[in-house]
C-alpha cells in the first residue's frame, strides 16, 4: 500500500521527504552504511512530524480530498476486518443486483448483524463493477430488503456510507431513483432494531442519507457529509466549479462541523496521515466505536429505538435544541 501510495497536493512536503528516504535506502546509491541509518531515522521522524502537522490542520477542501483518497479503506475492507461468517445477499427482488451497495449477514464481534454499505472499488475493473459507489434504485431497494430482513430477525444494522451520491443516470431516473432513496431513508427511520451508520469517506447527498437514517451516525475524522458536492455547490452558486474550496468551507461539511451541528454523533479518529495510511488501524478503530455504540443501543426496546431515532433527527437544527 505505502509504496504505491497516491500523494495529495498538500502532502508534497511529505512526498519529497519520503522520496529522499527511498533514495537513501537504495544500497546501490551509497557505500556508506552508517551515515544513512542515522539520517534515515531523522528523515522518517521528520516526515511523520510534517504529516502529523499537515493532518492536524486540514481545511475542508483538503479533507474532501482525503475522504476521496483511493487508498482509503472501503466497505469490503470493513467487512473483511469486522464481520465473521459474512454471507453476501444480493438483489432487490424486482429488477437487478446493484453492486454499488453491498450487503449481507454476518457476525460483528459475536453479534449477528446485517451489514451494508457503498463500495467504490479498488481498481479500474472493480470501480466499474461497483459503479464508483454510485447506486441505482436497485441498490436502495436492496438496502430496504436487508433492513426488512434485519427487522424480521431482530438483527442490528451496521451501514457504511461512502458515496459521491446516487447515480445520476438516465436509467436510474427512469426506474425511480427518487422513490428508491426515499424508501430507503424511510426504512431506516422505521427500523425496530439498532441501526448504526458510519460515514467512512464521502457522505454525498440523498444517496448517503438513504443508508444513514440511523440511531447513531459515526464519522471518520477526515470524512465529509454534504447536501451537494463542493464542486456542484460552486458551479451553482458561483457558476464556477473551481471554487469548490470556497463551497467546501461555506457548507460546513467536515466531521468537526457536523458534530457541532448534531448531524453526526461521534467522530472516530484516524491514524496520523489519514485512514489510508493505516487501513487496519482505521478499521479496528471504527469497529471499537461501533461496538460501544451498539452495546448502548442494545439496551433499548424496539419502541425506544424508533423513538430515539426520531428524536435524534427532529432535534437537528431545531430552534432551542442547543445544536447551533
Amino acid at each position: 500500500m505505502i509504496d504505491q501510495r497516491h500523494y495529495l497536493d498538500f502532502e508534497r512536503p511529505v512526498a519529497d521527504l519520503e522520496a529522499r528516504i527511498e533514495e537513501l535506502s537504495d544500497p546501490l546509491a551509497t557505500d556508506d552504511l552508517e551515515a544513512p541509518a542515522v539520517e534515515m531515522k531523522a528523515l522518517r521522524q521528520a516526515a511523520q512530524e510534517i504529516r502529523a502537522r499537515i493532518y492536524r490542520r486540514l481545511d475542508p477542501w483538503q479533507k474532501t480530498q482525503v475522504a476521496r483518497h483511493p487508498d482509503r479503506p472501503h466497505f469490503s475492507q470493513y467487512v473483511a476486518g469486522l464481520i465473521e461468517d459474512f454471507v453476501e445477499l444480493r438483489g432487490d427482488r424486482k429488477f437487478a443486483d446493484d453492486q454499488a451497495i453491498i450487503g449481507g449477514l454476518g457476525r460483528f464481534r459475536g453479534q449477528g448483524v446485517v451489514v451494508m454499505g457503498h463500495e467504490k472499488g479498488d481498481d479500474t475493473a472493480s470501480r466499474v463493477e461497483h459503479n464508483f459507489g454510485m447506486a441505482r434504485p436497485e441498490g436502495y431497494r436492496k438496502s430496504v430488503r436487508l433492513m426488512d430482513l434485519a427487522e424480521q430477525f431482530g438483527l442490528p444494522v451496521l451501514s457504511f456510507v461512502d458515496t459521491a451520491g446516487a447515480y445520476p443516470g438516465l436509467d436510474a431516473e427512469e426506474r425511480g431513483q427518487s422513490e428508491a432513496i426515499a424508501r430507503s431513508t424511510e426504512r431506516g427511520l422505521t427500523l425496530r432494531t439498532p441501526f448504526i451508520a458510519t460515514i467512512t469517506g464521502e457522505g454525498g447527498s440523498g444517496g448517503a442519507i438513504a443508508l444513514a437514517a440511523a440511531n447513531k451516525v459515526l464519522i471518520l475524522e477526515h470524512s465529509i457529509y454534504s447536501v451537494i458536492s463542493p464542486e456542484g455547490c460552486a458551479s451553482i452558486l458561483w457558476r464556477d466549479s473551481a471554487r469548490a474550496k470556497d463551497a467546501a468551507e461555506a457548507m460546513k461539511i467536515t466531521a468537526q462541523d457536523l458534530l457541532k451541528l448534531k448531524v453526526v454523533d461521534r467522530i472516530v479518529p484516524e491514524p496520523v496521515g489519514g485512514a489510508h495510511s493505516d487501513p487496519a488501524a482505521t478499521v479496528k478503530a471504527v469497529g471499537d466505536a461501533i461496538e460501544e455504540e451498539l452495546k448502548a443501543l442494545t439496551l433499548l426496546s424496539s419502541d425506544q429505538l424508533v423513538e430515539q431515532r426520531a428524536a435524534r433527527f427532529y432535534a437537528i437544527g431545531r430552534a432551542g435544541s442547543g445544536a447551533i
Binding site: 443516470g169 447527498s205 442519507i209 438513504a210
Partner: protein
C-alpha cells in the same frame, strides 16, 4: 372509463368559482403589463384571462402559482384558514457566497411577503377537512431548508391533531445549499413526519407541480399514499445537465415530465389544474370513509 360524472364537474366549477373570482379581482388591481408570454408557444396571453383559467395558458401550460392561488383553487369555495409555521433559526451556518444568505432571505421575504418557502392552511376539500401545504417556488426556488422542514412537520402535526388528511403541493429545485447538511437532514425529518400520518391512518397525498427535483423528490414527494401531478411538470432527482454529462447523451423529449413518470409507474394520475379539487375530493372522500383505526 367514465371517471367523472359530468354533473359533478359542473357543480364543482360552480363551487370554486367564488374563490377564483376573488383571486381575479384581487389581481386585476395589478399595475404592470397585463399581457404575459405563454412559456410553451411564446403567444401573448391577457393576464385576467389567464387568472380566470387558473394560470393555465390556452396551450395547456400550467404556470407556477403561489400558495394564495393554490389555496383559493383547492379548498371548497376557496375558504381556508392559514396555519402558522414554527420559528426556526435563520442562516444557521452563517453562509456566504457572493452575497450573504441572510440578505438573500431578506430579499425573498420582501418579494413574497412570506417567511419562507412553505405555506400551510386548513379547510375543506369536497367536504373533507384537510390540511394543505404548498411549496412556493418563488421563494428561493422553493428550496428545502430548516424552515420548510419545520413547516412540513408542523403541517403533519396539524393534520394528526385534526385527524385530517395532508395534501402537499410540491415545487422545489431541491435542497437549500446555504444550510448545508441541515438541509439534507430535512429529507429524514419530513419522512419522520409522514410516519405520524401513517400511524394515524390519515391520507398523505402528494401533488407534484413544476418543478419538483432533488432532495424534495427523493423524500416526501415520493412517499405519498397517492401521487398526482399537474401536466408537464418537471419531476426528477438529478438535474438534466448532470445526467447529460454523466451519460454523454442528450435526453429524450418528455424526460422527467409528469407524463413520463406516469408511464414509469411513479405517479397515479396526471390531473389538469381545474380538475384537481374534484379528484382530490373523490380520493379523500373514499380514503377517510374506511374503517381503519390507529395501529
Amino acid at each position: 372509463m367514465a371517471e367523472q360524472d359530468p354533473k359533478r364537474k359542473l357543480s364543482w366549477l360552480a363551487k370554486i368559482a367564488p374563490g377564483v373570482r376573488k383571486m381575479v379581482s384581487r389581481h386585476t388591481g395589478f399595475a404592470g403589463n397585463l399581457w404575459l408570454k405563454d412559456p410553451n408557444t411564446g403567444e401573448m396571453v391577457y393576464q385576467p384571462d389567464l387568472e380566470q383559467a387558473l394560470w393555465v395558458t390556452p396551450s395547456g401550460s400550467h404556470m407556477r402559482i403561489g400558495p394564495a392561488q393554490r389555496f383559493a383553487y383547492t379548498f371548497d369555495e376557496g375558504l381556508h384558514e392559514r396555519l402558522p409555521a414554527p420559528e426556526s433559526p435563520d442562516d444557521p451556518l452563517k453562509f456566504t457566497d457572493d452575497k450573504p444568505y441572510r440578505e438573500r432571505l431578506t430579499a425573498a421575504r420582501k418579494a413574497t411577503g412570506a417567511n419562507d418557502a412553505v405555506a400551510i392552511a386548513t379547510g375543506r376539500i369536497g367536504g373533507t377537512q384537510t390540511v394543505v401545504l404548498v411549496q412556493n417556488f418563488a421563494f428561493m426556488g422553493g428550496s428545502l431548508g430548516t424552515a420548510a422542514g419545520e413547516g412540513f412537520i408542523a403541517a403533519a402535526e396539524a393534520a394528526v391533531a385534526r385527524r385530517a388528511p395532508l395534501v402537499v403541493f410540491t415545487a422545489a429545485g431541491g435542497a437549500r445549499m446555504q444550510e448545508g447538511a441541515l438541509s439534507l437532514m430535512q429529507m429524514a425529518r419530513t419522512t419522520l413526519a409522514i410516519q405520524t400520518l401513517k400511524k394515524a391512518h390519515l391520507p398523505y397525498i402528494v401533488v407534484l407541480t413544476d418543478p419538483t427535483t432533488g432532495g424534495v423528490t427523493a423524500s416526501y414527494a415520493m412517499l405519498g399514499d397517492i401521487h398526482l401531478a399537474e401536466p408537464g411538470a418537471l419531476i426528477g432527482f438529478a438535474g438534466r445537465r448532470v445526467i447529460e454529462q454523466t451519460i454523454r447523451q442528450t435526453l429524450p423529449p418528455g424526460f422527467q415530465r409528469s407524463e413520463f413518470l406516469l408511464e414509469k409507474g411513479m405517479i397515479d394520475k396526471v390531473v389538469h389544474r381545474k380538475d384537481l379539487p374534484a379528484v382530490l375530493a373523490s380520493i379523500l372522500g373514499v380514503l377517510t370513509a374506511g374503517r381503519a383505526t390507529a395501529a
